[in-house]
Every structure is written in C-alpha cells, then in structure tokens.
Symmetry: D2
C-alpha cells in the first residue's frame, strides 16, 4: 500500500519512520512546501530501510501522491505573536484548503488521515472542504490519550496494556473525558480486577492517572519542545488497521451525525476501522457525569468549528 504524508516536520516524519521500520507500507511519499526538508526526511528514513523492510521512501510534489490509499495531513502554520486562536485556525484552514485541493486532484479515492492540531476541528474542516464521505476523513483524535490511559492502568495493575480496555472520549484536548465507568481488564470490570490483584483504584490513583493522561503532552513539550514519536506510531497504528482491513476498534475523530444530542461534530469515540476507513461507530454506555462531560466537549468543538469562516 502507498501512503502519502503532507507535511514533513517531526510528526509526519516520525509516522513515515514507523511505517518504514515496520514495513507497513510498500511506498511512503513525503510532500512539503519546503522541498529540501521533504527530501532530507525521505533520505534519512530511506537509510533506515535496508536493515529492516522493503518500503520505498521518497520526496515528491503533490503529483507523486497519485495512487496513495491513505494520505496523512500533518501540515500547518504556527501561531504568530499576538495572534488569536481563531485567527490561527483560519490561517490553518486556508492552508488545508490548498492542501486538500492539491491532494484530491491526484488521489481522489484516498482516505485522509488528519494529524494537525486542533485535530478535531481540522478533521471537520477537512471533511467540509473535501466533500468526502465522513468515514474517509479520520482524525488521530484521542488515539494517544487512550493508549496513555491504558498504559497507566496497566502499570498500576501489573497487567499488559494490551489486555486493558478503556477509552478517552471527545476532544483531543482539555475537555476530553476519561470513560472510567466502562474500563475493563480483558472482559472483566476494572474495579473487580483491581481489588483482586490488590491494587484498588482509589481516588488518589484515579487522580494521578487522570493527570498523567491529560498532562502527558505538556510534560513532553516542557522537556523537548514538541511531541512526535507517540503520535507517529499512533498514525502508523491507524494505517495498519486500514492496510490489513482489520476492523479494529480505535478511538479516532470523525464527523458524527449526532452524539449525546450534539449534531454534526467531529470528536473521538470508539470506531471500527478497516480498509474503507471508519466502518461503524460504537457509542459507549456512560454514567451521567461522563455523558455531561462528553456533551460539554462536543458543544465546545461545535462552537469552535462554527466560528471559522472557510
């Protein structure tokens, strides 16, 4: 499978590196308005390949994206001093208008995978601009927050994160909701198992994990200025589900007709992902505080997106 990446900064290149190292794509094409950067990233990643897989990694113009099954959109501009959040969003929307037009001109059948922040809003904007069916415009959403939630629970319990199942819902950002009420170990209730293994979920444990999930990115940004390895691997994980048509349950963002009473908004809930993109949504059963939190998160996103002029 051919994968395109528009935006060859650290997030885009970390995703390309993960795809190449694991051999998940037969071909990876990097596009960036700074062509020298795209070439440098492609060459650096290509040097990793002979040891490990047979992925072909190249830099190209948009026309090189022809035939790509999935295209990661990791482009975007940075905030100028004194610029409002809304003004920044509108500038980013303008960038995406160009990018999406260029992409669809050569790869009209590709699935678009949005990695630029604020990811939920950029996902919704991309869906509008592109006119594609919503299930083919996927935002990385809370895939990383969910992974982090499971890691911290797994570490607390002494159980593999891959045997822990729990979700972070809503916005990838401050209003996100940790769905504690339906967390499971295997198919079993988290509370029961935590008690059985002698590591109960006290208020303190819960607050620590909640903080760990919400503030993971801030801690990383403090130490190194940006996050990219985690999200790079998360994007590779979504692409694996598509490439192998796995019908995996992942928490990704997508424009959803109606969610806890809010209509037409992009946010994350568990969704089944396969070769066609998003195949089904799986709405979790929530306790009322979680439901309220999710509704608040959805309204906040909805308001943001409506304030933007495209």
């Amino acid at each position: 499978m051919k994968v395109g990446i528009v935006g060859a900064g650290m997030v885009g290149s970390s995703a390309g590196y993960a795809l190449a190292v694991m051999g998940l794509a037969s071909s990876v094409v990097l596009v960036d308005q700074n062509h020298d950067l795209a070439v440098a990233q492609a060459e650096d990643i290509a040097h990793a390949v002979p040891f490990l897989s047979s992925t072909i990694v190249e830099a190209a113009d948009y026309v090189g994206l022809a035939g790509a099954s999935v295209i990661i959109l990791a482009a975007g501009v940075s905030q100028k001093p004194g610029e409002s959040r809304l003004a920044l969003l509108e500038r980013n929307a303008a960038v995406f208008k160009d990018v999406v037009g260029n992409v669809l001109a050569v790869a009209p059948d590709a699935i678009l995978l949005i990695a630029s922040n604020p990811v939920d809003i950029m996902t919704q904007i991309t869906q509008r601009i592109s006119g594609l069916p919503a299930n083919r415009v996927i935002g990385s959403g809370t895939i990383l927050d969910t992974a982090r939630f499971r890691s911290l629970l797994g570490r607390h319990l002494g159980i593999s994160p891959q045997s822990v199942h729990s979700y972070v819902l809503g916005e990838h950002g401050d209003s996100e909701v940790l769905a504690w009420s339906n967390a499971k170990v295997g198919s079993l209730s988290l509370a029961d198992i935590a008690a059985q293994v002698g590591s109960p979920i006290t208020e303190h444990v819960r607050a620590t994990i909640d903080d760990g999930v919400r503030n993971a990115a801030y801690k990383i940004i403090k130490g190194k200025g940006a996050t990219y390895y985690g999200i790079g691997a998360g994007l590779a994980r979504i692409i694996k589900a598509i490439a192998r048509d796995q019908h995996d349950v992942l928490t990704v963002s997508c424009v959803t007709p109606e969610i806890v009473g809010v209509k037409d908004v992009a946010l994350s809930i568990p969704r089944v992902v396969g070769a066609q993109g998003i195949e089904t949504d799986l709405m979790p059963d929530l306790v009322s505080a979680e439901r309220d939190g999710l509704e608040k998160s959805a309204r906040l996103l909805k308001n943001s997106v409506e304030s933007i002029r495209l």
Copy 2:
C-alpha cells in the same frame, strides 16, 4: 530463550514450527522416545528457518533440555481398543511420571507447559508429580476455545477478534462454560454493540456460536483426524507472553486453590501470564447459570483427578 518440546508428534511439531517461523525462541529442542521422529521434525522445521528468523532447531535427548526456560509436554499414549478412560489416564500418568522426572533432572527451573489431553487432568497430575509451585505448571486449557469464541463473535459483528473479549471457562472439554454474560467489544457491552451494528445476539446466533466453539475440534478431527495448527499457535502465544514478560491475560489451566467452592483443581479462568509463569488469577463475575456450569465442570475434573492412582 530456549524452549524444549517433549513429544514430537503433530502438536509438538506445529508449536515448534510456529515458534521458529515467528522467531519467538532463540533455540527449540525436540525430544521424543522415537528419536528418528524428533530428528525428522527438527530437520523439517529447521529448513523453514533460513527464510524467516534465526531460531536454532534441534533434536536431542533429555539432557539437551538443560537451560530451557519453558518446556512443552506434548507426549502421551493412545487409547487401546477396549481400554477404559481411567485405564488410559493411568497409563498416561505413568508416562508423565517418567517424562517429568527426566525433564526436572536437567531443567529444574523451567516452566512446564502441558498440551497433552485431557489437558486439565494432565496439568494437575504434572503439578503433583513435579512438586513445582502451581504457577509454573500451565495447561493450554481453553486458550483455543476462547480464541474460537472471539473469532465467531468477531465474524458475526464484522469486528476484529482482537477487539472482542470473552472467555471460555472450566474444563477444556464438554463441560466448558462460555461466559456470555461478561463478553465485551473493546470495553463495551456485547449486547449494546451487537444492537448498534445491527447484528443482535439472538438465541439462534448464540446457539450457533456455542456449537461452533464446542464442536470445532470434532469438525476438524472428522476431516483430518486430529487438530494441531491451532493448538500449536496457542502454545506459541503462551510462550510469547512468557518470553517477553508481557503480563497478558490468557485463559489457561492451572491448579487453583479454590474456585466456585471447589478446592485444589486445575481448570481455565483468565490468568495473567509473564516471565514467572502465572502471576495472578482473574476471577470473572458470572451470572448464576454460568457459575453453576463452572462449578459442575470443576467438580467433574476434581472427581476425575482423584480417581487416578499415581
């Protein structure tokens, strides 16, 4: 990690093949009282390796098992015409007495992984003979029944079996219990999700899946005389959890101090498996019919094992 396999028939060799093809062990040693068979299986598997991994595969006497971290016991005798089930069990117990003695003489620190049927009874016998702590004597139990349960649920829902979580409990055999009441898709209730995706779990669906899980082996035995690929991969899966210290939740058999009121019996429930063998048991919450079924299964196994003279 070095893995020993005692019994080079189809089950033992299929496990060795899976381990070699996936590179899960650095060394696999096959032992069989028919040494020509062990040599032939080791050579045939060794030919698969240069394409795919760097596992060393060899046939040896018991002394070749020295240094093995895990030893699969897949030996056993077949039923003679007119022989009672109990007489067969006693003959197999005698075989295991020899095998376990020989194994522990050279590899006293190995984890023993029992694949011979009836697996729960052979697990309990092995634990007694060996005097090892129960967590180091693991039976493959219902690992395959559980895999089958998830596959059939996944196929019904159009969702990856790896996102479906449900367990088959108790005996690996006719008295086993499908724990429908706590089946989940991701962390979500099976019934909810089945309704959401438009594939409800009707009585008919339930009966069909139940039959598919229980009678899978019979269908295979009818067509090819024996089952081995599935169980071979299942054994490789358990070894992966041990080799990489993954703390995975797997339904495996092990002598358990007390289960639904029955004391000191080997059967399958979800258990956490890592480098030390079984690290914790996870007792699921069951509805009363399931609990009754599990108790019946446990008593049946307990009575069988008590009837055997060692």
Copy 3:
C-alpha cells in the same frame, strides 16, 4: 493479498499455516477435492489466527479463488503399486489439466506457484497447459535445497545463514548441482573466509555438506513419512517476495528459453521475484564441472518432460 491453495494436504496446509501465522496474506482460501479435508485444514489454521494476525482462512470451491493474486498448486496423486514413474507423471498431468483449467476460469490473472513433485516437470507442464507467460508459472524448485546449503555452511562457519550466499541449481532432485565455486560470505569468497575463521572447507566438510543437502529430504521421510514444514515456509517466502514486490533473488524453477545450451526447460537458477512473478534470471558463472552437471540436469529434465503426453 488473497492467496489460493489447491490441495489441502500437509504441504498446502503448512504453507497456509505459515502465511496466517506471519500475516503475509489478508485471505487464504483452501480448495481440495476432499472438501471435508479443506474445511478441516482451514478451521485448524483459522484457530491459530486470533493470537497472531488478521488473516481470513476459509475452505471453498474453485469459485472461491476469484481475486487471488497467487495460487499454490499442491495437488497430485500418489504412485500405485507397480506403476511406472512415467505413468504416474501422466496421471498427475491429467490432474493438473483439470486443476489449471478450473483455476484460470476464475482467476485468469493469478501467478501460479507449483509445489507438487517432480516440481520442475510439473512447472513445465503447468506452463504448457495454462498458456501463461513463463514468468507467471513458478515452481518452488531448489528454494529449500539452497536454504539447506546455506544453513549447513553457516553452521560450519559460525555465521548467520542469512549472511551466506550460495545456490543449488538445476533439478530439485538427484541431479541438482551445488554451486560451490561462487559461494560467498557477505560479498567475500567462501574459501577466504573459511580460512580466516579457522574452519576451512576440506574435502570431508564439502562431502558432508553435499550429502546433508542432497539427503535432507530422505532423512525426514525416513523419520516422519513426508516433508512439509520446510517447503511450507519456502512457499510463504516466495509469496512474501511477490506480495511486497521485493525483487528478491530466489532459486526457483521456471521455463527458461535456454540454459547451458538446453532450450525450453524448467529448472532452478537464481531469479529476481517481485509483484509480477519472475522479473529477471541471473545466470551464475560456473566452473566446468558445475556447468557440465547443470547441463546434464537440464537434459534429464528436458527428456522427461518430452516423454509425457498431455
């Protein structure tokens, strides 16, 4: 990628098991005139999948092969008491006439991968029957003999078989030629390296390795009646080169316009294998004894194939 397997015996099913365990195919379809056998093998392999990959494994009629990119032909009849080798070949040719017709009716664009013995002759017959371009009819040839050659050299030198490069040429059978003269370790001369590491290739070493390569199958057949794991993994290795378009150098059989003076004969030399099947032949430089051996092997195959009435 969808892979079909016609002939669900031990060779076909071992290939299917390797493909599923490694996740090299998205779908594997088994066809056998004994449909119960195909169903049993498919079910047994399918049980291995939930642990390890997302390959779908099913039994089907020929129509189920529609859409397959590669189809393994592992069917065939066994020798009857008193039957001549030629009579057996003609019966097998008749079986293949049916099989190939049925296969091409539903999958006219598939690459055919021949595993039935005598593999070079069956490859040539299949190419004739099918009328396909020669590069799309590939016999497993000496892929396993070559692997064995490298393993034994690697073991002698204490160097990974994956860093040893040497080929077995000609017939997959008694007339095969070990190309000692151009064997290399990395890019370096075998003789030089063997001297440097203090393990020279004496006449005795050479004879032992030669014997080990030629008689590996006999040793396995003596101990277990048939060989299947090695060839199963070898077939999976060829399919990996096709599925990922790797342009790998493999010694496989194919009808070749001219080889050491013999025209239009199927045998093994190193060939580049990718998504289109065989892309190029790489004729090694040989010393005269090797060249003579290869010519003899080619003539023997050519005579055999010409004696068969189709």
Copy 4:
C-alpha cells in the same frame, strides 16, 4: 534484553523509538545530563508502545543502567565557534571519560555501542578509557554507508538491497572506501549481473553512486540540520544481532590489532556480530587502489587518535 542509551538527543531517541516500535528490547532506559530531556523522550517513545509491542521505556540516572546488556553512547558536546577539531575531540574525550566511568560502575558486563562522531575515534577512545576487550566496544562505523551503497546499487539494478552485498570500509567519513571490486548480487559478480539485467556499471553510474554514498549525510543536514532516523535504525539493527545472537556480518568499527599494515586502530570492515559482541573479523580481498585507500584511511584515523591527550 535491557538496552541503555546515554544521550537522549535525536540520535539516541531515534534508536530508542526503533527498538520500541519493533519490540527488540524488553526495556529501554534513557540517561541524559538534561534529565527533563530524557524524561520527555522516554515518555514520547513510551506512548508509541501500547500499539505495537511491550517494551518498557524509562528515563533514569546512571544507576538505572544496571543489568543492561548493551549501552548506546550517543552523548557529546558541539563545536564552539573558533574551536579546533582537536580541541573539540579532547572535550568530547573528557565527556566520555565521565560517561564510561559512570556506565561501567553499574553495568560492568555491558557491550558498549558508540554512536557519537567522529565515531571511529570515539570508539578507540572508549576502548582505552574502559579497558574492555575490543570486541565489546563497537562503533556504528560505516553500517549506514554500507546500507546506502546497497540501496543505490539495488535501485540501479531493480533488485532488493537485501540481495546486494557490498561494503564501505575504513573511516566513517571522507576517507572511507567503497569496495566495488568485491560487490555481489546474491553470490554473483556485480559486473556480470549488471550486464545481464541491462544496467551496466558505467563510470558515470559508479561516480553517481559513489557521490550518493559519500554525500548522503550532507544532503540531509542541508535539509533538516542533522541525521538521526537512519543511524537510529542502524543502531537497532546492531542490537538485533546481539539480542538474538545472530552471528550477522555487519560493517562496524572496532579497535583492530592490525589492518593493511596499520596497527591498533578502530575502523570498519565486515565483522560477525552476536551475543558476545564482535566474534570475528572478515578481511575482504581488495584491489590495490582499494587497499591503498583503506591504508590511507587507517593511517589518518591512527594519527588523529594518537594526537589526543586523554
């Protein structure tokens, strides 16, 4: 296997990311004098894990390296304006004196893997400082130059880089020698194969590939300021050979008693790498221009290293 990484910049963290994504280490520990950076890199990489493997990734002080089997040294200081190359080297040597002392105090049995540039000189300095046997102090050397050489040859021929065998010898730097005379495709002569596939190695092709290998890093540095993905994967590749005791042939740097007449100098030739570090050196047969080039490269390194006061 536990792997330590001292120096949590882009090279060290890219290696850690590759190790985690591929599950090659059970544990990765990052140490940096900027502890916040080590924590940030460890967290960012740890977020990649739940999708893909079960590697534990953590930041720690030196004491956290206890039990590591391999420790990557990727630390170092940058050139100050006006600073001579020699002065820089002496400052880096001083840094390594500290680092190696701290490392060996807690992990006296580890293999040291040097990634800091100039890698050959830092490898020789580390061996001296540490007093370890030379085979346990390995520099990444020309592993990447060799990979690049194979990639470019493979691309020219339309053949997998994994079937092309050729080496870059000597210094990882301007004096390095591309060993064209013994380049092979499989076990076959490059010139023969290039002619057979209709892509001969003309003077122009040779000059282009030579330039591509030598100037790859400059091109990347021009576009993105530094190289890290390629070397990160190269380090992971060396660790794979050690972790799985593969006895692979890799071009890595190591203090060598005598090479083309130069005594006691660290540079790259093909060497066999396994669980004990470097197991054997494989000296290629060279034409006289290559031999002269290698001698020049060796003398240059030898002179550099002798000018440094430790």
